[in-house]
Symmetry: C3
Subunit: 375 residues, 3 copies
């Protein structure tokens, strides 16, 4: 992974100055950079660190005086985080999965494995599975019968792909994630307490014994192109139709996507988000860490919810949400401010009550007396 400044600049579509054929073997924070590393100093606040590290080249903010910093070369970027995406792609060696199929992998003869696959030890691939070209499956991954996965998949250790799941191209799935477990769907022979309180908003006529009968999951999971699923995340299969995740959506660690859920394109679901069964999520929705979405509701396109927001009711497109229950961000901020101001309000009302009581007893008392006689 040794590259020249010129190559990096080309990959970033960025301008470079100085010794363009200087080679670097990695990237680092400025203060920790070794002599063969590219320092990442895309903000003036990192300038000081450059002096402490050993880097001879750096990625700098626009207009930085690289010569004065003692560097031999510099690359200039406009949008640091976007540059990071390009830089990190250049320097990421990726996980080591040996080319070919490891002799311990067990692949059903009916499975179709695309060209240039890299399949690790103890992988198990079921009947009728289709894997696209250049699939990389790390150790101990399982892909159950009938699953179809597109080109360029990267599936890491211990991830579980369930039967008949359909996944697009460039899928990335992290360790121990589970795609296509059965949905959590049970029914009582009689109307259950949950059904009753949903209808009555909280009151119950009588509590009675009930046991749960399982509704099996006949549906599958359909995942678009360019989707990434984090470690230990789950996407359950649908009851009759499929649970679906649109193109470009990214799902973080420990996220739970329930059965029948429909998620649009280019969404971000951050760590530990939970989406209950049959909820629908629009396009470009961003849910911060630990957000929750109730079952059967709709979250419109471009909704953004801050961390730990709990969405119990439909959310219109474009809304920015916060709190539990979720409200518009400014409403939440105002409500919190109001709650903080309550002690003063209680004091003001107590004082008012005292003052008015005294008013009634004294000068205003006359009026009270008058009023009394009128009644």
């Amino acid at each position: 992974m040794i590259v020249t400044i010129a190559q990096i600049a080309a990959a970033l579509n960025a301008r470079a100055e100085g010794e363009l054929d200087l080679a670097v073997a990695g990237a680092s924070e400025p203060a920790l950079a070794r002599v063969d590393q590219l320092a990442l100093a895309m903000d003036p606040k990192y300038a000081e660190g450059l002096g402490r590290g050993e880097a001879q080249a750096a990625v700098l903010w626009d207009g930085a005086d690289w010569r004065a910093m003692g560097l031999k070369a510099a690359i200039f970027v406009q949008r640091p985080r976007l540059a990071m995406a390009g830089l990190s792609r250049v320097f990421d060696p990726g996980p080591e999965i040996a080319p070919g199929i490891h002799p311990t992998a067990i692949i059903d003869p009916s499975a179709q494995i695309g060209a240039d696959a890299a399949i690790g030890p103890f992988v198990v691939i079921g009947r009728g599975v289709t894997l696209g070209a250049r699939a990389r499956l790390a150790a101990q991954v399982t892909v159950a019968e009938g699953a179809e996965i597109g080109d360029d998949a990267l599936i890491l250790q211990g991830a579980r792909i369930g039967h008949r799941v359909r996944i697009g191209d460039r899928f990335i799935c992290h360790q121990n994630a589970v795609i296509g477990a059965d949905g959590f769907s049970f029914v009582t022979p009689e109307k259950s307490g949950v059904e009753e309180i949903r209808a009555t908003l909280g009151s119950r006529e009588e509590v009675r014994a009930q046991s749960w009968t399982r509704i099996h999951s006949l549906g599958h999971v359909v995942i678009g192109d360019d989707v990434e699923v984090g470690a230990l995340a789950t996407i359950d299969r649908g009851t009759v139709r499929a649970t679906s995740v649109g193109n470009g959506t990214k799902i973080d660690n420990l996220v739970h996507v329930g059965h029948n859920v429909q998620i649009g394109r280019d969404c971000l679901l951050c760590g530990q988000v939970g989406i209950a069964g049959s909820a629908r999520i629009g396009d470009r929705v961003v849910l911060g860490g630990q957000c929750g979405v109730s079952d059967n509701i709709f979250v419109g396109d471009d909704v953004i919810a801050g961390g730990a927001t709990k969405i119990f009711t439909n959310a219109p497109a474009g809304r920015v949400l916060l709190g539990s229950p979720a409200v518009k961000m400014e409403t939440h901020v105002e409500a919190q401010k109001n709650i903080r101001r309550l002690p003063r309000l209680f004091a003001q009302v107590a004082e008012l009550r005292e003052t008015v009581t005294k008013l009634l007893q004294t000068g205003a008392g006359t009026g009270q007396t008058d009023r009394g006689t009128e009644e």
Copy 2:
């Protein structure tokens, strides 16, 4: 999985009309149904979809005119979700796990495997394990030493059953779940800050360094009959006695059940619920997604908690809870309404203060003066 209308009706204990020997090969939403599929149209709102799909037979709401819909046969049901349970059971082919013991599975010679087992690749079964009849274990499941599992178990890919765990009949365990990890239990040599604030409700005399000594988990986990555990869920072992889960309880994905917890019968714990150590949960309790239960508290029979409810104190039987901290559902709804009404209240109090101030300065001022002289 080809069955006749008559067979399905018998399985559902439902009435059928038309060509009872018509065979179907699956079920589908009405609009997506192929000619060999049974359309699921158990509510009049699905009638329109029937016209767009190709189904020749359907499950319909009571009283529907199937002939007018162009169908050849129909099955009539009273309680659609209950019918779904029966239908989905009929049509679910279940996961493919080849009969017998896969040659790569490693089973300790002292383990007892019941009749008609299906044990997949790379499964590892420890010393002294007992598995009941008809056990199905998918690839890469591990069952540690001394565990006992009843008849008809279905344990899916990568699930981990810990040592000496005892599980009843008809257990279903989804992918990568962990039953019987050690509890999270640590102690400091001196009283810890946590113990101190629990005693003082928040204040601490002094903060001091402390490191944690491990309390090992000597207890195990006891799980009843007909229990289902979701993907990536955890049930920790007890410290001395066992953590326990009663018959018929269903646990969803990513749920955490701490050490020493006692859970009753026929409960539902939805996705990402967390139950802290030594809490006791009664029978038929339903906890919505992302609920939390504090350690050492008691949640009574038939309690129902909405999504994201955090239960910090004992909850009496039959209570319907919502919010964080959990309160009665109607109290929570009222509190939220009150918070929304605060801006108006602030305005009213401000106006009152102004009015009263003016009252004091004017007509009522006389009274104030009088009062002043009296003091």
Copy 3:
């Protein structure tokens, strides 16, 4: 695991009386104890249970009259939970992992395995891995290329250690945990809606389409000595620098630690805690179950947060937090009390408004008229 009363007392550094060479084969709750078990009755509330069980020896509270309880021997302890730590260590047989390297384990020839290792079936160890002395790895663990793990590691079934992760001595990692998955870090070519609302606190000029470009994780994870990680917990690798966890910190099941996070020494992170990217957590911080910490903030030393606390802003050292958003514990308790008192406040204000209105209409009305003319 048969030990004498004298041996146990020595292990606990505690005083014993009676037949010190009496042997016991385990520990139990008093009421359930068999004749060969040591009853754990460290509080007078357990005295009654001793009569129902069969134990001949017990661990008792200081000053208990063991002879009157019919026991043959007793051990006296001052701090019961600390005694439990010692007792449970004595009696825990630990997981059974056969000594040596199981023939099915696949270990890269370049890996260095320390003395006295116990490595189970189907374990996969990558290129250049270093494992210290006495490592115990249960079935199906994977350790990716370049990872370094210190002495006395215990890594349980299905845990995933990522490439180049560095871990200290005495590491304990529970089933299916994932250390060193890639961080969740994406960027849009143009400024995203999330960046915009962070800058404007909630308002957006216009909503536009955006898709996410991946920022790869070049950093690794550095974990100190004496760290324990729960089942199904995740610690993501850093973007450029390492995600780090200090000595003595304990992490419970299903916890999510995001990329670049820095966690200090001797912290406790309870079940389902989530820490977003680049947050910094001080030393001895205790986060109760389901707590959340926002990205890029700082939580000071010795902070203690109750269950389900959501920390959105920096928290000073020593603070005790509760609620969402997190506030000082006493502020939260006060706010909840104030919210419960709101119905009375609304009633008081309504009554005041009525009274003042009447005051204005009657005796005080004169004043109002006067005031009117003055303006």
